[in-house]
C-alpha cells in the first residue's frame, strides 16, 4: 500500500497548526486512493507531543534525540532521509512554513526527487500527481501535472485545509533510531521574540490597514486622519513595514500579527495569502483596491473597486 509521509512541525514543544492541516489533507487523500498515512515526529523528548498525534494518522514514527531539539535542517534532513529510505513514501508532505522552506529544497536535491512548493491542493489521477498553486502574488492560478515518479515532495500552504476532528483508531507507534549524525555546520542559538510595540493592533476593535497601494510614506497621514475619525488603529501589510513606513509591530500577517477586529478596512492591499492568514477572521472586512481581481476581494465581505485616494477623503467626511 502506497504511503504518505507527513513531517510533524513543532516549535518549543508545541505542535504547529500546519501539522494537523497536513494530516487532515493526507487522511482524505489516503482514503480516496487506498494509501496509508505515516507521520514522522523528530524531536528531543517527543512523548507528550506523540500523545496529540495518536488519533491523527495510521502510523507514527518517533525519532527522539537531543540533536533534534530545535529544527536544525542538517539534523532534520538526515532524519527525514532515514524515514524516506525505510518507508519509501510515494508522497512526502512538509509545511510551506519558515521551517519547511528551509528543509524541502535541500531534501529534494539530496534525494533527487521532484518538488513542488506552496501547494493549495494535490490530487492523484491514475498515477499522475497534480497540484494547484497560486503565482504572481495570488493573481494567477497554476495547475501543474508532474511527470511520473516513484516519489514526490510537496509543501502545503498553511491555512489551505481546515482541520477535522480525530479519526477512528489509534496509530501504530514505531520508534525510529536516529541516523548517524553528520558533523553539523549550522548551529541553532536562540529564538528572538519581537520587541514590545507602541500600540497593540491585536487589541483594536477597528483596524484601518494600508498596503503597497499607499504609494509613499507622505500619504500615510491621510489614512491616519481617516482612522482617527472612526476611532480606528492603523495597521499595514508587509511591503509597508518592509519599507519602514510603519513599524513592524503594525504588520498584519503570517510573520506579523494575527488580528480579529470587529472591522478590518484594507486599503491598497492586494491580499497575498500571508496577509490573509493574519486577518481573514475579522468580523467584517471592507477592501478598497484598484484591481477588481485582487485576492483581497476573496476574503472581504464588502469591496470597493477604486482608488483609495478618491475614496478615503469622501468616506472621512461621512464621519465629521
Amino acid at each position: 500500500m502506497a504511503e504518505i509521509l507527513v513531517l510533524v512541525e513543532h516549535r518549543q514543544g508545541e505542535i504547529r497548526e500546519i501539522t494537523f492541516e497536513m494530516l487532515t489533507f493526507a487522511d482524505a487523500f489516503a482514503a480516496e486512493n487506498g494509501m496509508k498515512v505515516t507521520a514522522l515526529l523528530p524531536g528531543a523528548g517527543v512523548s507528550e507531543m506523540a500523545g496529540r498525534l495518536e488519533n491523527a494518522c495510521d502510523r507514527l514514527l518517533l525519532m527522539d534525540s537531543p540533536e533534534l531539539a530545535a529544527c536544525n535542517p542538517e539534523a532534520y534532513l538526515a532524519a527525514i532521509e532515514k524515514a524516506v529510505g525505510e518507508y519509501k513514501p510515494l508522497l512526502t508532505l512538509i509545511g510551506h512554513t519558515a521551517a519547511g522552506m528551509d528543509l524541502a529544497p535541500p531534501l529534494a536535491a539530496r534525494l533527487g526527487i521532484p518538488l513542488v512548493t506552496d501547494c493549495l491542493d494535490v490530487s492523484w489521477n491514475e498515477g499522475e500527481l497534480e497540484v494547484q498553486r497560486q503565482i504572481y502574488g495570488g493573481k494567477i492560478n497554476e495547475n501543474l501535472r508532474m511527470k511520473p515518479s516513484e516519489r514526490y515532495l510537496v509543501t502545503l500552504r498553511p491555512g489551505s485545509f481546515p482541520v477535522s476532528g480525530p479519526r477512528a483508531g489509534a496509530a501504530e507507534k514505531v520508534t525510529l533510531e536516529p541516523p548517524a549524525w553528520p558533523q553539523f555546520r549550522r548551529r541553532f542559538l536562540e529564538y528572538v521574540e519581537a520587541e514590545l510595540a507602541d500600540v497593540d493592533i491585536t487589541a483594536a476593535e477597528i483596524l484601518v490597514s494600508v498596503g503597497r497601494g499607499i504609494g509613499k510614506p507622505e500619504n500615510i497621514p491621510l489614512v491616519q486622519e481617516f482612522a482617527d475619525a472612526i476611532g480606528a488603529t492603523l495597521s499595514c501589510s508587509r511591503p509597508v513595514a518592509d519599507k519602514g513606513w510603519l513599524p513592524k509591530s503594525r504588520q498584519v500577517g503570517t510573520s506579523g500579527k494575527t488580528v480579529r477586529p470587529k472591522i478590518y478596512i484594507a486599503l491598497g492591499i492586494s491580499g497575498a495569502f500571508q496577509h490573509q492568514a493574519g486577518m481573514k477572521n475579522a468580523e467584517t472586512i471592507i477592501a478598497v483596491n484598484k484591481d477588481a481581481r485582487a485576492p483581497i476581494f476573496n476574503v472581504a465581505h464588502y469591496g470597493i473597486v477604486g482608488d483609495l485616494f478618491q475614496v478615503i477623503p469622501v468616506l472621512k467626511e461621512k464621519f465629521s
Binding site: 529544497p105 536535491a109 493573481k139 492560478n141 497554476e142 529564538y191 492586494s270 469591496g303 464621519f319
Partner: protein, 263 residues
C-alpha cells in the same frame, strides 16, 4: 569578503491587471514593466553593505534574455563589481533544479565567501532555487534572513519565523543565505548611476559552455508534464459596492457604523 548574489528579472504585477495567454501557458507580459525581483534587490543591497563593512567584492549573476542585462546594470550601479549573464536559451520552462543547475555551473568555479539569493521570486514563488544551489555547492545554509552579521569565519543569521519570532543561527563561511524582504533599506538607483556603469563588461555564458545537456534543463528536463495558468474568479467572496463615489462611501459609512458601533 567575496560575495556572489543571484538575481532574477520579473514583471511588476502589484498594480497590474493580468491576462493569461489563450493556451494557458503564460501571462501576457507585453504591457508589464520588468524589474529586479524584490527579494533579490534586498539581497544585492545586503551584499553591498557587507562589502562596505568588510571589504572584498560583489558579483551578480542572473539567468535570462538580453533584457535581463538591465537588472545586472542596476546591481552594478548599486555598487556591485562584476556581473554574469547566463543566456536563458535552452533553460525556458526549467524548474528550480534546472535554474539552480545553471547557477551552479557558474558558481562552482568561483571562489567566494558568501552566496546570497532572494528567499523567493515574486512571479513563480517557488522559494527553491537558493537552497537547491546550496546543496549542489555543498554549502551550509540558512533561508529567510532578516539580519546578517559576520564575525571572523562565522556568519550569524536571524531567520524570520511565523508570529513575530526569529531564530538566530550561526554558520561557518563559506555559506549560502537567502534573503527576506525588509532586511535593509535598498539604496535608490538613478538613471545617471546606471549610465556610469555602462562600460563595465558583463560576462556572458550559456548552457553549452556550462556543460549542461539539453536533457538537464528546460521544460523537458523539469519534473513537470504540463503547466496551465488561469485567472481566479473575481471577487468571489466580497459584495462589491456600486453607485457613484458618494453613494459607495455612504453605504460604507453605514456598514462601519452598524458593524463597528461607530457614532
Amino acid at each position: 569578503m567575496d560575495i556572489v548574489v543571484c538575481v532574477k528579472q520579473v514583471p511588476e504585477v502589484a498594480e497590474a491587471e493580468l491576462e493569461v495567454a489563450p493556451d494557458g501557458s503564460s501571462i501576457d507580459t507585453e504591457d508589464l514593466v520588468e524589474d529586479i525581483n524584490e527579494w533579490d534587490n534586498y539581497a544585492v543591497e545586503e551584499a553591498i553593505r557587507l562589502k562596505e563593512a568588510h571589504g572584498g567584492s560583489v558579483t551578480v549573476v542572473t539567468l535570462g534574455d538580453e533584457e535581463a542585462e538591465d537588472v545586472l546594470r542596476r546591481a552594478l550601479a548599486m555598487g556591485a563589481d562584476a556581473a554574469v549573464l547566463i543566456d536563458e536559451e535552452g533553460f525556458e520552462g526549467s524548474d528550480a533544479f534546472g535554474i539552480a543547475g545553471g547557477l551552479y555551473g557558474v558558481l562552482k568555479d568561483m571562489s567566494c565567501d558568501l552566496v546570497l539569493t532572494g528567499a523567493q521570486a515574486s512571479d513563480d514563488g517557488w522559494g527553491q532555487v537558493g537552497l537547491i544551489l546550496a546543496e549542489r555547492l555543498g554549502l551550509p545554509f540558512a533561508s529567510l534572513a532578516v539580519d546578517i552579521r559576520i564575525d571572523g569565519d562565522t556568519v550569524f543569521v536571524n531567520r524570520e519565523l511565523e508570529s513575530n519570532t526569529q531564530e538566530k543561527v550561526a554558520l561557518p563561511l563559506p555559506a549560502l543565505i537567502t534573503i527576506q524582504t525588509g532586511i535593509n533599506d535598498p539604496r535608490y538607483v538613478s538613471i545617471m548611476g546606471i549610465r556610469k556603469v555602462r562600460k563595465i563588461e558583463i560576462r556572458e555564458t550559456d548552457r553549452e559552455e556550462l556543460g549542461l545537456s539539453e536533457k538537464e534543463v528546460g521544460f523537458g528536463g523539469s519534473g513537470l508534464a504540463s503547466r496551465t495558468l488561469s485567472l481566479p474568479s473575481a471577487g468571489a467572496g466580497a459584495e462589491i459596492l456600486t453607485g457613484n463615489l458618494n453613494e459607495i462611501c455612504e453605504k460604507t459609512a453605514q456598514i462601519i457604523r452598524e458593524r463597528g458601533g461607530v457614532a
